[in-house]
């Protein structure tokens, strides 16, 4: 049986009641936007949480096996970085220090935790957009580069630098000079970032033992096989460090946010709520359509239309609603992404994979609503027609 005729009948029936059709479309669109926002936030969270490992350049990295996430690293001896040079593939080992400290807002004096990242800025293992030009200036004592994508609670630093040139602020009760800005991005783990040279990091973190580091970025010689190097390093180094590739480092960070925090669950739950609300709305509309046309459906049954044909009418209606609601839904979501991305500085973007996923979810949602509403068809008894 070709689905064309029943689906056309469904469309004609939907079209006849404009108000009902538009409320159904609005319902699907609402569910669509809700799911897009939830999935968008979820993915923005993971993207922003992995902004730091993403920005690190290096084929291999050393991390402490107990490090759960990079904003809260376990430190390990700096000597591990030098030990890696015993493996012939390793060209360069760059120790990286990380620490949370207190930032004093230059405008209103409020305090906020900021992540300090210190490394040999000239080694070329870490490069955030904007850093290269600042390297000479960062050699001076007590200088930092500020991440302009930090949360606005840190103060209008970028604007102040643009207006008045280098700016003095306090980090951990020390006076430091901001020589310029880099782009890294606020994450859920760190509201803001400051990048500096290794020496300046030691100056700011004077209580910390400089022989303990948090991360090592390794550059390999051109043409070296990272997997072979990883194997060789794992065999060489003691158990207080783990050798991971760049992808593994990003996945490690991501995995923390996905599994060790309720955040992944919260957004999945939010998406599910959106789908349930949308499903209930579509179900109500389809149910009302069947209930108010019971006599007509019963007539169709009496005329000899099979139950399968009528089921196709209902499923056709649900598919039409899914399609008609999805189109404005994805457009509205793309617009909202822009608005929210500007407001929160989270990397929210519409992409084809997510679009396809939400399309599938919305169609599934409408199909489920259709299957529920279909049960009402049984009440259309042609024997009651006489």
């Amino acid at each position: 049986m070709s689905p064309f005729l029943p689906v056309r009948l469904a469309w004609r029936q939907l079209r006849a009641e404009r108000a009902r059709l538009f409320s159904a479309i609005a319902g699907v669109m609402f569910a669509c936007v809700l799911v897009f926002m939830q999935l968008g936030f979820r993915s923005a969270l993971f993207d922003s949480a992995t902004a730091l490992p993403q920005a690190l350049q290096g084929e291999l990295f050393l991390v402490h096996p107990l490090t759960t996430a990079l904003f809260r690293p376990e430190s390990f001896p700096r000597v591990r970085a030098y030990q890696t040079l015993a493996v012939p593939e390793v060209a360069l080992a760059v120790p990286i220090y990380m620490m949370q400290s207190i930032w004093r807002n230059p405008v209103n004096g409020s305090h906020r935790a900021i992540q300090l990242i210190g490394f040999d800025t000239e080694a070329g293992a870490v490069s955030f957009p904007g850093l290269t030009e600042l390297i000479p200036a960062l050699k001076r004592p007590y200088t930092i580069a500020f991440d302009w994508k930090s949360r606005p609670e840190f103060g209008p630093v970028a604007a102040m630098i643009a207006a008045n040139g280098p700016l003095h602020v306090q980090i951990g009760n020390r006076d430091v000079e901001i020589v310029g800005t880099v782009a890294l991005g606020a994450s859920f783990g760190a509201d803001g970032n400051a990048v500096m040279s290794e020496t300046n990091f030691r100056r700011l973190a004077s209580k910390r033992d400089p022989s303990n580091i948090d991360l090592v970025a390794l550059r390999l010689r051109p043409g070296a096989d990272p997997i072979a190097a990883q194997r060789a390093l794992t065999a060489l180094l003691p158990g207080d460090v783990k050798v991971v590739t760049h992808d593994q480092l990003v996945a490690w960070e991501r995995n923390y946010w996905e599994t060790a925090t309720p955040i992944g669950f919260i957004f999945a739950f939010g998406s599910l709520m959106g789908l349930i609300v949308g499903m209930v709305i579509v179900y109500q509309i389809l149910f009302a359509d069947i209930a108010s046309h019971l006599a007509e459906y019963a007539t169709l049954k009496a005329m000899g239309f099979s139950p399968g044909y009528l089921r196709l009418v209902v499923m056709g209606a649900s598919a039409i609603l899914a399609g008609l609601g999805f189109i404005p839904g994805i457009l509205a979501s793309a617009g909202l992404y822009d608005v929210v991305a500007k407001a929160t500085l989270l990397p929210l973007r519409m992409d084809a994979t997510r679009g396809a996923m939400v399309l599938a979810l919305i169609f599934g949602m409408c199909a489920f609503a259709g299957l529920l509403a279909m049960r009402k068809l049984r009440d259309a008894d042609p024997a009651d027609m006489f």
């Binding site: 004609r12 046309h293 007539t299 049954k301 009496a302 005329m303 099979s306 042609p382 006489f386």
Partner: protein
């Protein structure tokens, strides 16, 4: 093997179970010959409508034999009953046209059940031709809400007849109409049916239309009484 379009022997039917069992048809025999117009009358509760739903394969049989258009309905499967309904034209007390379709689209719906009939254009042309035969040509693209009761019933007749059914079952088709339109509608039904040799079984309370029938069957307490 009876050749009559409708041949009922010893049909019994009851609603409910156990102590609540209420028989509505008892040992009923009825035959409708080819091309015959039979009117079924009787007081309310005499079982006319139940009988019509059994003949129309809208209800499952309980006992007796009911041969309709060569199909035995006792023990017939759901699929067999659905298939038989496609060969019967139904006309209801209320027109039951689909409100969101035009008159022609409503009539063409009947033809969708007959895949060998052709494509959309062929169905539509046939629907318009049939509307012409019931005098509704100029209303082909009008929705039922904008038609009068008599006009709607004409469209319903066109829908019942367009696929050339072997039997027409009608349940009080004049109940919702005034005297003149009711008269017109049954005469139209009879004329169309006679021309193509379709038998009609029509349930009615309306004494004004008894004269259109070839035969009037009176029912009482689930039995044919004359």
């Amino acid at each position: 093997m009876p050749v009559e379009p409708v041949h009922l022997t010893n049909v019994g039917f009851a609603f409910g179970d156990g102590a609540l069992r209420r028989p509505v048809l008892r040992e009923l025999d009825l035959t409708v010959a080819a091309g015959e117009v039979v009117l079924l009358t009787g007081p309310s509760g005499s079982g006319k409508t139940t009988l019509l739903t059994l003949i129309g394969a809208l209800r499952a049989m309980q006992s007796g034999s009911c041969m309709v258009l060569g199909q035995e309905l006792l023990g017939a499967s759901q699929a067999a009953r659905v298939a038989l309904r496609r060969r019967i034209g139904f006309i209801f007390q209320n027109h039951n046209l689909l409100g969101f379709l035009t008159a022609a689209q409503n009539v063409a719906m009947s033809l969708e059940l007959h895949p060998d009939f052709g494509d959309d254009a062929a169905r539509f042309a046939e629907a318009e031709r049939m509307l012409g035969r019931v005098g509704m040509t100029e209303f082909a693209s009008v929705v039922p809400a904008k038609l009068s009761g008599g006009q709607r019933q004409r469209v319903a007749i066109a829908r019942a007849l367009v696929a050339g059914p072997g039997l027409i079952l009608a349940d009080e088709p004049t109940a919702a109409l005034d005297r003149q339109s009711g008269r017109d509608v049954v005469e139209l039904m009879r004329d169309l049916a006679k021309r193509s040799g379709m038998p009609i079984l029509l349930v009615t309370h309306d004494p004004r239309i008894l004269d259109v029938a070839d035969r009037v069957v009176k029912m009482e307490d689930g039995r044919v009484v004359g």
